[in-house]
Symmetry: C2
Subunit: 481 residues, 2 copies
């Protein structure tokens, strides 16, 4: 059996933290005398109280550290349980429990699919709460993927393990310094983004909220029309810059600021992301321009914004790109899976996995022709071991398996195949919009059935934690001594 007390302590800390994050939205709605005040007070009480109980139950006198099993369990439970508390404020604007869970899961996973409508007239505290959920969730995933994941050796993240700490089984102790640096970068990017949005015409409230949603690559807006509400190409370009910033490896930012000041462009993954977005946007702009007689510069602007939005897994929509034709629909479905860089706020497969995969495929084909030839694969400056190659293949299969199983569940609830497949795809990659009239960029998840909403919410959390923390919980070996 796994020792539960350190897990309880971590969960307690998380619950209390999320409770305290509800204070700013509460202040907003208190000031505006909105009907949500009581719900925020209740939510704070519930999460702080539960957190305190967890900590008391966990006893004291122990270190704060987690071993592998405990890290898996704490991560999985944290993301599954936080939405239960985070959901409470949404009850105050008429949402059901399941709607509240969906919206909160969508927030902390930085997915950005919404079941709420009438955002433009909603209490500001609720809007701020949605943005904060994404913002905190975005910080959380960067911290987890930089500090914890490399030690769990899942999905190939072990490639990014710092050599000096290779042999440690104790995970959290050395992470605090890194966590602080990530926080600085995150705050800096968010502030710069808000300034940019404000400068080009957003109100201060809109600018702050959209900045949080942008840098977290979340995609919640304060308007039902999402980014299309602003009708400003300047704002769209600001959005493009900071969506991509949110999708870049934060460790590279830290190296730039802290270390010798080498430009982030030196990072092979960052280059790959920018190149990929540019290439896909160009192809879509040209086909859209030719097929639908759209002026080419406008087509480029629309393509860059929406491709960047999907590939960085943000999910802001400036237009319904489904109208660009069948090729665009197919392309948007495929790029939904791609994602951005490791150690960013983005979801999806991630650029480094695709880059390593391409090298692995090339080496494999060469070996098929000349079985005696053995080629060492390197990524950036590091040697890619076979354990990393296998971990990446395992990640892809886990993603595919999740996509298939959750899609069948959604079909079972009565949704058509394309809606189901794209809703699961966007959820596991934490993107936001899917395809079709319901879950597409101009649709809303509100009309889905309750079981469908829960399936999609779980898919978001599965994808956010990159599957293995959940698959591992399903093996008997996890629960044995």
């Amino acid at each position: 059996m796994i020792r539960i007390t350190p897990v309880l302590r971590v969960l307690g800390g998380i619950f209390i933290g999320f409770g305290l994050f509800m204070i700013p939205p509460l202040a907003f709605d208190w000031w505006a005398k909105a009907p949500t005040v009581g719900y925020f007070v209740g939510a704070i009480a519930a999460s702080v109280f539960t957190g305190a109980v967890c900590i008391v139950l966990s006893g004291s006198g122990e270190t704060f550290d987690l071993n592998r099993k405990q890290a898996f369990l704490a991560t999985a439970l944290g993301w599954l349980l936080v939405p239960c508390f985070a959901a409470i404020p949404f009850l105050g604007v008429g949402a059901s429990w399941i709607d509240g869970y969906f919206e909160s899961a969508s927030g902390i996973t930085t997915t950005g699919s919404t079941v709420l409508t009438g955002l433009d007239t909603m209490p500001e505290g609720i809007l701020l709460w949605r943005s904060l959920l994404q913002w905190v969730g975005g910080y959380g995933i960067v911290a987890i993927s930089v500090i914890i994941m490399p030690f769990l050796r899942v999905g190939g993240m072990q490639l990014f393990r710092a050599e000096s700490t290779d042999s440690s089984e104790k995970i959290l102790a050395r992470g605090f310094d890194l966590a602080r640096w990530i926080g600085f970068v995150y705050l800096g990017l968010s502030g710069a983004c808000a300034l940019g949005y404000g400068m080009f015409g957003m109100t201060a409230f809109d600018a702050v909220n959209h900045a949080m949603a942008t840098v977290a690559t979340g995609g919640f807006s304060t308007h039902d029309a999402s980014f299309a509400y602003f009708k400003s190409s300047a704002l769209e370009w600001v959005g493009v810059v900071f969506m991509i910033a949110g999708g870049l490896p934060f460790v590279a930012f830290i190296r730039t600021f802290r270390g010798g000041g080498q430009p982030i462009w030196n990072d092979v993954q960052a280059r790959g992301l920018v190149f990929f977005i540019a290439a896909v946007a160009l192809i879509l702009a040209v086909t859209n321009s030719l097929e639908n007689k759209v002026q080419i510069l406008q087509a480029i602007r629309m393509a860059v914004f929406n491709v960047a939005s999907i590939v960085t897994t943000t999910g802001f929509a400036s237009t319904d790109y489904q109208l660009w034709g069948n090729f665009a629909i197919g392309a948007f479905f495929v790029i939904t899976f791609v994602g951005s860089c490791s150690g960013s706020t983005a979801g999806g497969i991630k650029i480094y996995r695709l880059q390593i995969l391409a090298k692995t495929a090339h080496s494999y084909l060469t070996r098929l022709i000349s079985p005696s030839q053995v080629k060492v694969i390197t990524y950036s400056t590091r040697r890619v071991g076979q354990d990393v190659e296998i971990a990446i293949l395992a990640f892809l299969l886990a993603m595919l398996f999740t996509e298939v199983v959750f899609t069948l569940f959604l079909c079972w609830t009565g949704l058509d195949f394309m809606t189901s497949a794209s809703a699961v795809a966007q959820a596991i990659s934490n993107v936001g919009p899917g395809l079709g009239p319901i879950v597409g960029p101009s649709g809303n998840y509100k009309s889905l059935s309750d079981p469908a909403k829960m399936v999609i919410a779980f898919a978001m959390i599965f994808g956010r934690l990159e599957y293995f923390p959940f698959f591992i919980l399903l093996t008997p070996a996890f629960w044995r001594r």
Copy 2:
């Protein structure tokens, strides 16, 4: 550079062989004075002449053997070029060259998608030619996958390499004995199937044609309505038995007849196939019965026939299962990829790959929890090496990559996303029907554009040869000395 002469000689033999196979259909149409006679004569002349030229060009005095590169090239070219000759007779019933190529590729890959309509009134020679294409293609793929593929070490087929010949680079020399045994089994199954069909009411001509299409898991019918034409549940059950027989490992049949007579049921892959078909059919029968108020026994019969038809990659349709609801549509899309056993006439992922994958996944998850634990994976009585595990993962990725790229091509030609994705899925798995009104079980590929038909035809050939013979041709290493 690769030495081309042995490749030319093999191709020459194949072209001449296919030319001779056109003689029986020619005889039928000669007898009936059908307008296709001239086309058959021309096709025979063209393929025998081209074959003879190839053999003359290849010189003489050498052995008939192929090395790895030559085996890859001969396989790929053989399947790409044969449809050029096989297409000619179809020009005699008004098909275009592209339609003829599509129909022939669909035949020799045992896919069974058709662009022809009005089958019920077509010259019998043409119908027989379609059946023969599948029948010969089915035999060819069993021979290749049992004799050649294990030596090319692709897709995990090396697992089935006979130990005694492990070190040989010469591929064809020892295969003739095995090829003869496969031929006996294939003839025996086809004869038994034709008898079964005749006994339960088909005409002799229909019985023979459908028997060839069944055992080859091809799916061409002599009627536009496919199996629904016969409206006979007895015939459907005969079909189920022999579709599954076509999807079983032929080596297991040979062991049964030749060796100690151990029942085929002992084969772990055969058991897996039957169990999978039964499980999926049961789930679909129950949901269809509940949702659409279908009587349960009828629902079971319909589900077993259509699930067996798709999983064995035959593709006969007895009804439009898309009317069973969204869950059925999603399920049929997913099982399109599954396929049957290695060394059968079926396409798809294949049961043994999924069985090994499940074991690999379990061992991987166990290792994530306890990194020190190393577990040896066995399949049937054999130890599964890491090369086999990686080859299977590589196969899946090659399939996924092909599915994505070909789907985007189809979307580009203007087809909607679900039609494109399912048309490619059925093509690479050599199934036959896709989803939607055009390529679905009650549709016809005739109305597709020429580029779309070519994309689907190439997808069939890619999938039939399990991708790697083509991917390898694209690497520079293949063309270097």
